[in-house]
């Protein structure tokens, strides 16, 4: 259960693009063809390893419906990463990306890593959005891009892990203030202890609080 870092993610995008299925595939390694509409927000978690370090991902899967938009906005601020999902078989979900992105940029902290995901890549015959279009959108807005299939699990693991890698790199570069939990990043218990011994007397107090 011990982890070096804890990252908070949110999953956003239009209703029915497969956000909950992506989460289920990532946390439970299974696919549920019929899924109820997400009400508000649902939670899932999993441990991953990056660079030999245990990293805990806490993921909030938001409702895509417009009526929940004001609720889901409350989750942007505290997240370190966001998976912005569209459905490659529905062009309208791709067209709405700009709105989602504006919303995310407006309410999140500026360092939030956003991964653009074109889901349902298994439905090639019904494809409406070309892979190149997704890539172009991502390039234009400085996002990472991937096409996934929650059904076949293709790239699902990679999507979550690559986002974590990006965050991890930003931490290494010192872009993220890891002591501010509002950024959606938390240092693990033992790590906090070693950090505080390094920083000296003042940090000792923090370690005391963090350990218990």
């Amino acid at each position: 259960m011990a982890y070096a870092y804890l990252f908070k993610y949110i999953i956003i995008g239009d209703t029915g693009v497969g956000k909950s299925c992506l989460l289920l595939q990532f946390t439970d390694k299974r696919f549920q063809p019929v899924h109820d509409l997400t009400i508000g927000v649902e939670f899932g978690a999993r441990m991953i390893t990056i660079d030999g370090k245990q990293i805990k991902l806490q993921i909030w899967d938001t409702a895509g419906q417009e009526s929940f938009r004001s609720i889901t906005r409350s989750y942007y601020r505290g997240a370190a990463g966001a998976l912005l999902v569209y459905d490659i078989t529905r062009r309208d979900t791709f067209n709405h990306l700009t709105t989602w992105l504006e919303d995310a940029r407006q309410h999140s902290n500026s360092n939030m890593v956003i991964m653009l995901i074109g889901n349902k890549s298994d439905l090639e015959s019904r494809r409406e959005v070309k892979k190149e279009e997704g890539e172009a959108f991502a390039r234009e807005h400085g996002l990472i891009f991937m096409e996934t299939s929650a059904k076949t699990a293709s790239n699902v693991e990679e999507a979550f892990i690559n986002t974590a890698k990006e965050i991890y790199e930003k931490i290494q570069e010192g872009v993220f203030d890891i002591n501010n939990e509002a950024n959606g990043i938390k240092i693990g218990p033992q790590h906090a202890a070693t950090n505080s011994t390094l920083s000296g007397g003042q940090g000792g107090q923090q370690a005391g609080g963090g350990c218990c």
Binding site: A45, W60, S74, G78
Partner: protein
């Protein structure tokens, strides 16, 4: 002053009106501030008046006087006073309700404009204590009055909930504590807000505060934190999952590390805190949660030692009964249905001498009349949870009653249960019956085992079976509670167990007793017993294997029809589910009863009733004819079965044959595969050979091409040749240039001649002039010859070029030789030109008049010279390249020889194949012919 003495009421209204006017119209901040302060002081006494007249003005102050924290504070306080319902003063209910209505009315008025709530939220960002604190209180009061509406507004205002979460980080304790109360109201019954609050790290913050405040020893702040936690977790599976995943269960463990305390060390606050802490544990493992979620929480509670800690409290001394009861309930739910936790619980011993299992100690309390009722219920619940889906535990409990394993030395669970079953206390009877029934649920093995149990009665009499004893007590007509308990035990026992049914029917008195009970017209109290008796009789029919002559299914049904009547029987059966307490018990597993008398139904038993009621009704209603029909159907089915068996046999035989054939086929397939493999291998070998030949052939083709100096095959050589051609082209143009220059010179000389002729008329230099003329003439001849040579060269070069294009090995040699010759001639030409120039110069020296013209000619010749030098160099270069080319040709010649040798070594058949291939490709035809020629 006079107005005031006349009566307070009108004066109050007037004063308030005046103050409102001042607030509205005064331009001076001080004035407004004083007025709002005065309104605040009047707001409690004249709540109604201030509320109805001043609210708009106060809201305007909040909007416009943002810069002055003092006036904001007064305004917020005033609003708080008119909206909040004071709880301190004791009033009679009527007045209280009226006051509540006033608060709700004003809250309504305030939130009518959503902007007001948004405004209040933004004021909470103000750090100033005078603003923030009353702001928090006002918002709390609004939430208390109009919870859902205010929640809705906060939820949709951007970052609304997050901002309120920041209150927990305020260093001023008053604000943090009131923030807790605010969040309690905010999270009430709103899952969306609960989740956002959890997302904003509420669990961490709250657990930190609880630790800082001294956990259960902490004051009311700990209680507030716990209440908020309960709000966040209760019925919110998403937050529960987050709580578990965030490893917060592990942090709960320390709450239950209670120091060694003296008997009186339990303050009321501590009891409250611990009670809430236990409730929080129960929320995480509640039987109403999804089984998967509960199971994983149970697992981590065992892994982190929380269960162990709770069991320590269970066995500790001096724990208040209230806490002990709740701890038992908590342990129950932590172990319910979890094999690992149940096993651990079975191994827990009480610190007594000798040590006794905790289960035994708890059961002792259950069958002890002096223990509190709720505690006894809790123990029963604990025992049920211990046996829930626990076949191992069930076997252990039953085995303590079996003759072979009975241990006379110590008290066993079985002994305690039997003691309870037959004690004089009906509550003990009921509890023991239900507990024993739980040892039999879904476990036909233990149902049979329990039939073996014999009880020793008074001395001299033979032992009596447990089943017999139960029916005996039943027939003795004891209290309803006792009989209900025993009937539930019997129903559970014999259902789905034909042997037990036979045992039960074997006692001749049982069936008459049951029919008598059901058929009698008894009072209200006895209806439930009648219903249960009907159920028991029904089970005897439904699970009857017809092994007893007198009590076959058929005979029992006839009995019902004769003695009770089918309709009557079914109606009596229905009494069970129609009982008012039945549905309550069906709701949840925990036995909770308002009074001991209400303790009648067990949760698991209600499930059994639901299952059996329908099938028994059907079984009883079925007529004997129908039964016969069924029998016939069964017979035909059996006939069919025999036919089917024959066919099955046939199929089996065929199956065997098929298997045999299949094996053969697979063996053949195997062989075929092997053959295929060898074929493929051989094919690939052939292919390899072919490839090798092709490679060699290709190499040969290249070499052949080069051997003829056919540069087309070799790209590099082609390039070189092109370069050469270009150079030749250049040379040609330069020659043309040279020619034209020479023509110019000719004309120049001609003009000079004319001048010389003119000058010849003068006497002195005439002889010289003729000489000069002669020389010029000779020069012209020379130039003419040069020109000829040049044209010859040109033609030669053209020939060379042509030859280069048609290309032949021998011609390249000739070409280079010609080039060399050409070069030589050019050199001679240049030297001759030099000479010519020098001669011209001497002429010009002697003939000053011609000097200028000659100088012009001279410069032209210099240009010509440099150009010639250039030409010479270029020709040299081309010669070099030609040499290189020659070298390369020699090399490749050697290579070809070598390759030819190799080919010869490889043998004749290869050559043939090669030729065949070659004929297909017309491009290569020439090459091949060449090869053949070479050979």
């Amino acid at each position: 002053m006079g107005g005031q003495s006349a009566g307070t009421q009108p004066s109050g209204v007037e004063t308030i009106q005046k103050l409102c006017d001042r607030v509205a119209s005064s331009t001076l901040l001080e004035d407004r501030r004083d007025a709002v302060r005065a309104l605040k002081s009047l707001s409690k006494k004249y709540r109604m008046e201030v509320g109805s007249q001043a609210m708009e003005h106060l809201v305007r102050i909040l909007q416009s006087d943002r810069s002055d924290s003092e006036i904001l504070g007064y305004a917020l306080d005033t609003l708080y006073n008119i909206i909040c319902n004071e709880e301190e003063e004791e009033q009679d209910d009527g007045q209280r309700r009226q006051e509540d209505d006033v608060g709700v009315q004003f809250a309504d008025k305030f939130i009518q404009d959503q902007e007001n709530v948004t405004l209040l939220l933004s004021l909470l960002e103000e750090f100033d204590f005078h603003v923030r604190w009353p702001g928090v209180k006002l918002l709390t009061a609004l939430l208390k009055c109009q919870c859902a509406q205010v929640q809705g507004i906060i939820l949709i205002s951007p970052m609304g909930v997050s901002r309120l979460m920041d209150l927990l980080a305020d260093s001023r304790e008053v604000i943090r504590n009131d923030g807790l109360l605010l969040l309690q109201q905010l999270t009430k019954g709103n899952a969306a807000i609960q989740k956002i609050v959890a997302f904003e790290n509420a669990f961490e913050r709250l657990l930190d505060i609880i630790t800082e405040e001294g956990t259960s020893d902490g004051g009311i702040v700990v209680e507030d934190c716990l209440l908020l936690l309960l709000n966040l977790l209760k019925n919110n599976s998403s937050n529960q999952n987050f709580f578990k995943e965030g490893s917060f269960i592990q942090r709960m463990k320390q709450w239950f590390q209670l120091g060694e305390e003296s008997g009186g060390g339990w303050s009321a606050q501590k009891v409250t805190n611990l009670h809430l802490m236990l409730q929080l544990v129960r929320v995480m493992v509640s039987p109403v949660n999804s089984p998967g979620a509960t199971a994983s929480c149970q697992k981590s509670m065992f892994q982190c030692g929380l269960l162990q800690q709770l069991c320590t409290i269970l066995m500790a001394t001096g724990v208040p009964a209230d806490i002990l009861t709740e701890t038992i309930n908590t342990v129950s739910e932590v172990i319910r249905g979890s094999q690992v936790n149940q096993d651990y619980f079975a191994s827990v011993n009480a610190p007594s001498n000798p040590p006794r299992p905790a289960i035994v100690v708890l059961l002792m309390s259950m069958v002890n009349e002096r223990q509190p009722f709720v505690l006894r219920c809790a123990v029963l619940y604990c025992f049920q949870c211990f046996l829930y889906k626990n076949h191992k535990g069930q076997a252990e409990i039953v085995s303590t009653l079996l003759p072979s394993t009975i241990d006379a030395q110590s008290i066993s669970a079985g002994q305690l249960l039997c003691g309870g079953l037959f004690s004089a206390d009906s509550l003990s009877n009921w509890c023991a019956s239900v507990a024993l029934a739980h040892a039999l649920h879904d476990n036909s093995n233990q149902k049979e085992q329990l039939l073996r149990v014999q009880l020793a009665t008074s001395l001299g009499k033979p032992p009596i079976s447990l089943l017999q004893q139960c029916t005996n007590i039943l027939s003795q007509g004891s209290k309803v509670q006792t009989r209900v308990g025993l009937l539930m035990l019997l129903c559970t026992w014999i259902s789905n167990c034909p042997i037990a049914v036979t045992h039960f029917l074997h006692n001749q008195e049982n069936v008459p007793f049951l029919t008598a009970q059901i058929s009698e017209n008894l009072g209200e109290d006895e209806r439930l017993v009648q219903g249960l008796c009907a159920l028991l009789l029904g089970i005897c029919i439904y699970y009857n294997d017809n092994s007893l002559e007198n009590y076959t299914k058929e005979k029992l049904k006839q009995l019902i029809e004769k003695r009770i009547g089918k309709e009557n029987f079914v109606e009596k059966l229905g009494f069970i589910t129609k009982h008012e307490l039945y549905s309550r018990a069906a709701q949840k597993p925990q036995p909770t009863f308002s009074t001991p008398e209400h303790m009648l139904f067990d949760h698991e038993f209600t499930k059994l009733v639901k299952e059996l009621e329908g099938v028994i009704t059907k079984a009883v209603h079925k007529s004997s004819e129908e039964e016969k029909k069924e029998e016939e159907v069964k017979k035909t089915l059996e006939q069919h079965d025999s036919i089917v068996t024959q066919y099955k046999e046939l199929i089996r035989e065929q199956d065997a044959q098929i298997t045999e054939l299949k094996e053969q086929v697979s063996a053949l397939v195997c062989q075929k595969e092997q053959m295929d493999n060898t074929i493929t291998q051989q094919q690939s070998q052939i292919q390899q050979h072919k490839d090798q030949y092709n490679i060699l052939k290709l190499k040969l083709g290249k070499d052949g091409a080069v051997s003829q100096a056919d540069v087309q095959v070799n790209g590099v050589q082609l390039e070189e040749l092109t370069a050469l051609r270009l150079e030749l082209e250049e040379l040609r143009t330069q020659h043309t240039l040279l020619q034209t220059q020479l023509t110019e010179k000719d004309t120049l000389i001609n003009s000079l001649k004319a001048e010389a002729a003119q000058s010849a008329e003068r006497p002195a230099p005439a002889s010289e002039n003729t000489e000069l003329l002669k020389e010029v003439e000779s020069l012209r001849v020379q130039v003419q010859s040069q020109q000829d040579e040049i044209s010859q060269l040109q033609s030669e070069r053209q020939e060379l070029q042509r030859r280069t294009q048609t290309v032949s090995g021998s011609s390249s040699d000739g070409e280079s030789a010609k080039l060399r010759e050409l070069e030589k001639r050019l050199t001679t030409q240049t030297t001759e030109t030099h000479r010519l120039q020098e001669e011209l110069r001497t002429h010009s020296e002697s003939r000053t008049q011609l000097e200028k013209e000659l100088a012009a000619a001279n410069s032209t010749v210099v240009i010509l010279q440099t150009e010639k030098t250039k030409l010479q160099q270029e020709v040299g270069e081309s010669k070099k390249e030609q040499d290189d080319l020659l070298m390369l040709l020699a090399d490749q010649d050697q290579k070809i020889l070598f390759l030819k040798q190799k080919l010869k070594d490889l043998g004749e058949p290869i050559e043939d194949e090669d030729d065949l291939d070659a004929r297909d490709q017309s491009d290569e035809e020439d090459d091949d012919e060449e090869e053949e020629d070479d050979e």
